[in-house]
Subunit: 142 residues, 2 copies
């Protein structure tokens, strides 16, 4: 859906590309997604519009994986799991952490929790693989 602000067609397309997927893409992926629809878009425009959208709070960074920054169209606070084998990023459903605390004068604006591990696809390359001593169940209160 569009924002209140009057966005250019290209900016809308960048934003929509991120919102359309759960893969938490990087700039290159977004560019390749938008390119067929708007063939004269440049990678620089993608970067610039990611930046604008982040400044407006419409996109959030999830972190850097393999030297590439990854983004999320869901800006409500939640957590992520990153597979250290394939680099995929998944949402983690769990109780939202409490309000932002402060420590020794450090004013917290935001927090990010990331779980690192091996995704089902990567660890399940052998059927019935049970390594890593994983626990099963829902996350607690973080």
């Amino acid at each position: 859906m569009s924002q209140a602000r009057n966005y250019s067609k290209k900016r809308e397309a960048v934003l929509e590309a991120v919102r359309s997927t759960k893969c938490h893409p990087g700039a290159r992926w977004i560019y390749e997604q938008v390119k067929p629809k708007l063939p004269d878009i440049s990678l620089g425009t993608v970067y610039r519009n990611i930046k604008v959208c982040r400044e407006e709070g419409l996109l959030a960074s999830v972190g850097v994986v393999n030297n590439e920054e990854r983004f999320d169209g869901i800006v409500e606070p939640h957590q992520h799991a990153i597979c250290t084998k394939c680099g995929s990023i998944m949402d983690v459903e769990s109780a939202a952490p409490a309000g932002q605390p402060s420590l020794n004068g450090f004013a917290v604006d935001n927090r990010r929790t990331v779980f690192y591990g091996v995704c089902a696809k990567c660890s399940g390359q052998k059927k019935g693989f049970k390594g890593f001593g994983r626990l099963v169940g829902r996350f607690g209160k973080n």
Copy 2:
């Protein structure tokens, strides 16, 4: 202190440089730290030895700040606060999170929580500055 393994002088120096500080340095800082003592060390050697030490579990990555990866000689799980103005990284004391959970077959090896905000030095540029609606007090159970 030295490790069981027989490390080269340069590798020891890289490891020691990270361990000697609380600033959670990047490769360049480490290089500049070691260079005066071992003038014929190269930046490539710093990178390679960071990598080796990480593989051996002697160093950990804290994350990427301003496009630079930052490291920590304290590998026991703990959390960090990153100042979005100056890029400084501080340790956060708080209750250690519970054991690693699993989600839909994702085997968690490790988790990382980072608090983003403005450090006392940056926010305190005016005495008595009280912006950012900060709370004061210790962190809860995360």
